[in-house]
Each structure stands twice: as C-alpha cells, then as structure tokens.
Amino acid sequence: MSENMNLTLKVWRQRNNKDKGKFEDFKVNDISPDMSFLEMFDVLNEQLISQGSDPIAFDHDCREGICGMCSMYINGRPHGPKEGITTCQLHMRSFKDGDTIVVEPWRANAFPVIKDLVVDRTAFDRIIAAGGFISVNTGNAQDGNSIPISKIDADIAFAAAACIGCGACVAACKNASAMLFVSAKINQLSHLPQGQPERMQRVRAMVHQMDKEGFGACTNTGACSAECPKEISLVNIASMNCDYIKANVIDSNG
C-alpha cells in the first residue's frame, strides 16, 4: 500500500443559482489511498464544519456506482481520470501526494447549478416523461414468455438500459449534447418487441423534448461514450438518428 497523501483541492463554490460562483482552494492532509473520492470530500467537509465554514454541497447517494447521482467534473473529466466508473467508485489511489485536483460541477445550460457541485438534472426526467416508456397500464400484461425475445436482442437492450442517467455524457461533450442518454433509452425499447408500437412516436417526442431543454447537437466526437461510467455505445446514437429520420420521412404519422 502506498503512503497517505496531502492534496490541494480547487473546488467550485456557488451559493445558489443566482450567485456568480468562484473557485476556492483547500488543503486536505493524510488522505488514505483506500478512500473513495467522495470519502475524501467527507473528510474535507468535516474539516470545514469544525472550522465553522459551510461544507461543500455535492450530489451522492448509493456510493456504489449505480444510482447515477454523483456528478463531479474532476481534473477536466466527468467522474475523474478512470474509465468505466462513477465518482463514488473512484479511489484516492488514482492520485498521488502533492497533486492539485480541480473539481467543477457538470456544466451545461440544461443543467443549472443549484449549489457548489450540485446541478439540476430534471431535464432528463422530462425527456423520459416525453416518451421514454412503453404505454402499458398495470394489469394489461400478457405472460412474460408469450413473446420470445432473442438473447442477442435482450442483451443489446440491456446494454443500453444500463444507463444510470448521471449526465456524464452531457458533461463530457463539448456541445453539452444529451444524445447518448436519449439514444440509450430509445435503443433499449426499440430492440424489444414490446417497444415497437410506439417506436416512431417515441423517438420524435424524446428528441423534441431534448432539443427544447437546450442541449447541443451531437458532433460525433465520441467523448460521451468514452466517459460514460456504464460504457454505453455510440451505436445507440446512430440507431436513434436512423429511427428519427424514418420517423420523419417514412412514417405516415410523422
């Protein structure tokens, strides 16, 4: 095990949505490499509380990489330097003694800052509400095995459904585009027979809502997928584009 380390943190502080905000520097000492990044923030906050200052607000909940709530932009990358993980899964052994770490909130017009590192991601909820579902009321369902679904399709749908809605794709994208998030949901449902009846309508409604929220356009840099903690594939975006074109050009109700 490597030794404990001393670090400098440069953290974005912003009291609320109206405040302009600025960076503040903090020193944390004796950080164990076994700590998670958020536990290091716990230590810092404990320090701030004992000094009587306001602790840093940051979103977090499950701390095991599945709820999608944690959202720090660390040293220029969403969820920090390691691939395929969320901030809560990032451990301090990825840093070294004497490092300066810059921590910022997700930046996008569609994700306004609430406080410090906390942003408002309800835009994602609204996109799902616009069409990210299959319209089936409770009790409507037939037997689960009545529609066979090939393992391949089920696996593709699952890989897309693994999205945790954290918003790292938006944060990473130079255009603050939400295409990876939106396409993951669209592609999950379009790979299942249950998703077919609403397929065209869904892609139109979700893309429309996405545009309304003020996310940028995709320019295929691939940053979203590279930074996605669940490694959602860019193929989803192409499939969504294809469906969207069909939904507008071919679908007679489009």
Partner: protein, 657 residues
C-alpha cells in the same frame, strides 16, 4: 387501540381472490377528486404512484433525490423471485409462500405472504411488458437462476443489475403519468411531518430541499414508501441518503412500528478499510455458489492466503453445516463469520474479515474446459487460467467492482468479506390492506413490516416492493377511499397544517441553534457503533441495556453539542442529515428495546441467551409468536401484540445441517 389485521375470511388460497372481487370500488369520476400522496419513488413508491394514477386518482409523489430514478431499489443486484415454474422444477405459489414463511423463521403473517406469492408471476409479466430486459435463454425465453439456498430456480434477473432495471421500468411508468399530468412529481423534497385531521392522515409537510421552503400538501391518503432504516447503523449497504424520517414522523404521530429489531445482515460485503469508511458495498450472494469461505486454523495467522496450506485452513461453513455448506441462509452465514472473527481467526489488516476463495472452483471449471478443448496434459497453471476465464464470464463485473474498491485482484488472491447491515424486515405496522393503524396512512415495500418475518430470503425484496405498489394498493386503497368520496380537499390553511408546519420549523431552528462543536456525522458514527456492537449480529440483555442508555446519552449530547452549518432557507445537506440522524437516535433506542424484549432468537435477531447447544438460533414459539407493534408515547413506547396464527404451515425449527 387494538390491532386488527383485517385478514379476509376464508381459505388461504381464496382470500385475495375473494377480496379483490368484493372490495368496494371508487367510480372513475370520483377518483379524479381523490388525492393521494406517495412518499418515496423506489420500487414500491414508483409502482404505486404510476398504478394509482393510471386508475385516475390525482397523485403527488415525493423523493429527496434529484430524480425518482435514484431511489436505492436501484442497487439490488441479484434478482426477483416469482412462482412461475417456468423451469418445471416443482415450484408453485404454495412453495414460494412456504419458503418465505420458513425463511422468515415463522414471524410473518400467512395471509400477506400467500398473497405476495400469488401476485409474484404478474409482476414479471408487467415488467416484461414495460420493456425490462430480463436475461433470456437462446430460445428467447426468460432465464432463471437459483438464489438464497432455495431448491427451485425461480429468480428472474438482469445481469447483476436487476434492481436497476426494475426500478427504471417503474420509473418510466411513473414518468409516463407525469407527462400526462396525472402525477405531480416533487424531486428534492423531503416529508418532515404527517398531518392528521380528525384521526385520519390528511397530508404532509414537505421541505423543498433546494429552497428550504416548507410546503403543505393535502391528500385523502398518504403512502409511506420510503424503504428501510439500515442506516441507523451508519455503515450499511444502504445509500447515504436512505433514512427513516418519513416513517418515523408517521410513527410519532401514532402509527405503530412493527418488529423494529429485525435487521438483515448480509454475509458477503467488502470489509471496512478504515475510519473514513462511509458505506459498505455488497458482493452478490451468487458468489457463494462458486466461492468457498475459510479462515486460517491458527488464530492471528498473518501469512499470505496463498502460503497457507490446505490442511491449515478452516472451511468453517462446510464444517458446521455439511448439508448446505457455503450456501446456508444469510443470517447463519453472517453469524458464523462473526464467530470466527471474534475468536481471533479473522484475516486482513483489521482482522474483521474472512476469505471467499474461488481457486477450488476455478480449478474445477478449468479442468472441464481443458477436457472440452482436448488438452489432456494441461498443467495446473493452464487449467487455472482456463478456470479464471469461466469465473470472469460469470462474475466479471463483481470482480472488477471488488478490485476497484480494494485495489486487490480477486482473480489471484481470495476476496476478503465480512457481513454488513443490508435490509430491515421491521417497519411500520400494517394490516392486510397495507394500512397502518392510522386511517388513510399506508406503508408499502421495505417501509412496512409485513412479509419477511424475521429474515428475508434473497430476491424477495424486489418482489415485495413491486407487489405492494402494482397489485396490492390499487385494490386495497379503494376499501378506504370509497368511504372518502364526499370529503372535499381540506384547505392547507387548516390549523392542523399550521401546527404541523410549526413543529417542523421548531425542529429545524432547534437543530440550527445548537451551534455546538461536533458534526452530525460524528453522532451518526457513534450511534452506528453502539448499534453494530450491541444490536447487530448477536445481542444479549446486558449489551442491549447498555445500548439503550448509551443511545440516550448520545441523543442528549447531540441536542446539546451538534453543529449544523448553513441556513434553513437554502440548499443545506447538513441540515437534512441532522434531521435524519435525530430520528435515527430515537429509532435506535426502540430497536434495542424491541431486541431486549424479544428474548428468543429468530431469523436476523440472535439473542445469545437463546441458542442450542451447538450455538444455533433457538426460537421460542410459545412466548414470541407475535408481531411486536410499538406505539410511541412521548419518550416511551407501549407494546401491542398481534398474534401470528399458522393454520397452513407446520412450524418447525430451521436446520441447515
């Protein structure tokens, strides 16, 4: 007040069917005028909110997270049980019912559990229809696995992310209703008080966590779907925000709390690595299918695990429970690990861990693979390499997770694991309708006490949450609301709302005005330590009596010396935490009181005074075959008992030998 569980008359297998066809209905026009508040948006909350909105009720749903999709149901890994019998291996509704009652060590209500088993197949159908991508066989049919030591394959799963997929299904149904305007969603809102008017639940006070503003919301009924209270232990597999506040406020307003001491400790979690630890991570139970658990035979053995020869290892589960071996139920496996570590045989830096070793099965799989590939003269290294591939295919994501957290490679050395608090079987007392003793107040999912008795079986939590939300409450709420159709929405100017809001304001300003020296986490950790040491895997009279006193002391100190920074009318996570910990400090005491009064061992509740000669849990059915429902009475609690009658199952002592 006497406890009436309102179980319908008739034969066990006919109760629910008959109930459904005779329960009073609310006509669609009236539904539009009835408002329901759903607190929490996990499996139970989201499914209930969506289903009730589909029926036409006006629903408001609340969650403290930034989106309903974050609820901690999302973290469930293993799967969801359902009595589909797709595998033709003899499963049935009765068998699932029987396994659940037995697994719960005969401390659950027969009628509720039977209904749960009966509904379970519908849940799978509903989820499939919503687009939940369950694992499939090549032929396109749903895949099953066995789980938690049952003898049939009835667990449906989506890789190691079943909870996530089910929650996202319920979330999409919920968002659909939000989009249609049938549900109003209140993200980043926390319920801080229940409003009771003329003895009935009529609304809540919620704090908008962004602005800090207190809001009054009226409802004809209030549903508490806020999950369990495992975070009373500070360290648990629960999410950081998981809390008991909504349930606790309801309890303080009159709802009884059922079996609070029944806590489930999960045997396979990643051990604590230091004082900085903020939460514990579960390693799926499925790992025990291929991992063998052992400790060194010599206490304090500091050698590398690979340097300890086979005959100096103690495979203690296989030794103590030859029939079930490493697959004994969770409570048994957890206690056995604690016993070894307490006796000084633990491993790792902290000595509070045991090995979960895959090498044996890697070799076994490796040999099979070598045979398949026709490699007859493969040496051990080659075989091991092939075996690692098989293990990787099965558990790759879990191994990666372990490596990520510990920095050790579990392919080359055994995992270190230790039990951790995982689930709370206790919760608000509810009747067959899922209604608490407060009319109009319901509790669903982990927040209620009802279906798991003293120990929950693996893959049953998801089943219960969704059963309650999708298929039980839409019927049972009609029984109550059909009598409420004449009730016009009560103005939130009503004095009961004003008083409730004042209570909340008082607590908030009290918390902010202590201006002491110690942080909220400081007290939470202190409480957690007492709970873990004295009301954890093993409990005894002396420890519990001490714990009660210690908790009272911590609580006093908390109210005199806590430091809560920031203001009331702003986004203030410290203030949120403070309120939750204040409630845990009361709940913890009640848990100890309950544990102390229940002088028997059953399921997750192990009283050292009540064990067999071999050190196994010993139930006392003649004295404790009841649900302990605690009524809050100022600083004290009054005990009410609901007797458990087993008419369809013969009670027996559990044995896994």
């Amino acid at each position: 007040m006497s406890l009436n569980s309102n179980i319908p008359e008739g034969k066990l297998e006919e109760k629910w069917i008959k109930y459904k066809s005779t329960v009073p209905l609310v006509n669609p026009a009236n539904k539009r005028n009835l408002e329901i508040l759903v607190i929490g948006s996990g499996l139970a909350g989201a499914s209930a909110a969506a289903s009730l909105a589909e029926l036409g009720y006006k629903v408001k749903c609340y969650c403290f997270q930034d989106s309903p999709r974050r609820a901690h149901s999302i973290a469930a890994q293993g799967g969801i049980n359902a009595a589909k019998n797709y595998q033709n291996d003899g499963d049935s509704v009765y068998r699932l019912f029987y396994d659940t009652i037995k697994g719960g060590d005969y401390r659950a209500r027969e009628a509720n559990v039977y209904r749960l088993a009966e509904i379970s197949p519908n849940i799978i159908d509903q989820c499939v229809a919503q687009g939940v991508p369950f694992a499939r066989e090549y032929g396109g049919m749903l895949s099953n696995r066995s789980f938690g030591g049952t003898q049939v394959q009835r667990t449906f799963y989506a890789a190691g992310q079943t909870g996530q997929q089910l929650l996202l299904g319920a979330y999409s149904a919920l968002e659909r209703q939000v989009g249609m305007g049938n549900v109003t969603m209140y993200n980043r809102h926390e319920m801080l008080e229940l409003v009771i008017i003329d003895g009935k639940a009529r609304g809540i006070i919620a704090r908008n966590l962004i602005t800090g503003k207190l809001e009054r919301h009226f409802g004809h009924a209030v549903l508490i779907c806020t999950g369990g209270y495992g975070n009373v232990f500070y360290l648990s597999t629960n999410a950081m925000g998981s809390n008991a506040t909504a349930a606790w406020k309801a309890h303080k307003k009159g709802a009884y709390f059922g079996n609070p001491c029944f806590t489930q400790i999960h045997p396979t979690c990643i051990p604590v690595s230091g004082d900085h630890q903020s939460k514990l991570t579960l390693m799926s139970e499925s790992l025990r299918n291929d991992g063998r658990i052992w400790v060194p035979k010599k206490a304090g053995d500091n050698r590398n695990p690979s340097d300890i020869p086979e005959d100096e290892r103690d495979y203690y589960l296989e030794r103590r429970y030859p029939a079930f071996g490493n697959l004994v139920p969770r409570d048994v496996a957890s206690r056995a690990a604690k016993e070894r570590c307490d006796a000084g045989f633990g491993v790792g830096n902290s000595k509070m861990a045991v090995y979960l070793d895959f090498k044996f099965n890697m070799m076994r799989y490796g040999k099979v693979e070598a045979n398949k590939a026709g490699l007859n003269d493969a040496d051990d290294n080659e075989i091991l390499k092939l075996g690692k591939e098989v293990i990787k295919e099965k558990y790759g994501n879990l191994f990666d997770m372990y490596k990520q957290i510990t920095g050790e490679d579990p392919y080359n050395s055994p995992m270190r694991i230790y039990p951790a608090v995982h689930y709370t079987m206790g919760g608000l007392w509810v009747d067959y309708n899922l209604m608490t003793n407060v009319p109009g107040l319901y509790a669903l999912g982990e927040a209620n006490f009802s279906d798991h008795g003293a120990n929950r079986l693996g893959a049953s939590a998801l089943m219960q949450g969704l059963a309650d939300g999708y298929f039980v409450i839409p019927y049972t709420i009609g029984d109550y609301l059909s009598k409420e159709i004449a009730v016009k929405p009560i103005s939130t100017e009503h004095e009961a709302f004003a008083e409730a809001e004042k209570n909340v304001n008082d607590i908030i300003s009290k918390l902010l005005n202590v201006k002491g020296t110690k942080s909220v986490d400081h007290y939470h950790k202190k409480l957690g330590k007492v709970m873990w040491d004295k009301c954890g895997m093993a409990r005894n009279t002396k420890g519990l009596e001490e714990a009660i006193n210690e908790i009272r002391e911590i609580r006093n100190e908390f109210w005199q010396n806590v430091r809560v920074t920031g203001l009331a009318d702003e986004f203030n996570p410290e203030l949120e935490k403070a309120g939750r910990v204040a409630d845990f400090l009361e709940l913890g005491e009640l848990m100890c009181i309950d544990a102390l009064h229940r002088n028997e061992s059953c399921g997750g509740h192990f009283r050292e005074e009540s064990q067999t000669e071999e050190g196994e849990a010993l139930r006392n059915d003649s004295e404790y075959s009841y649900v302990a429902a605690w009524e809050s009475n100022g600083d004290k609690w009054n005990l009410h008992k609901e007797a458990l009658n087993f008419e369809n199952i013969k009670i027996a002592q559990r044995s896994y030998k």
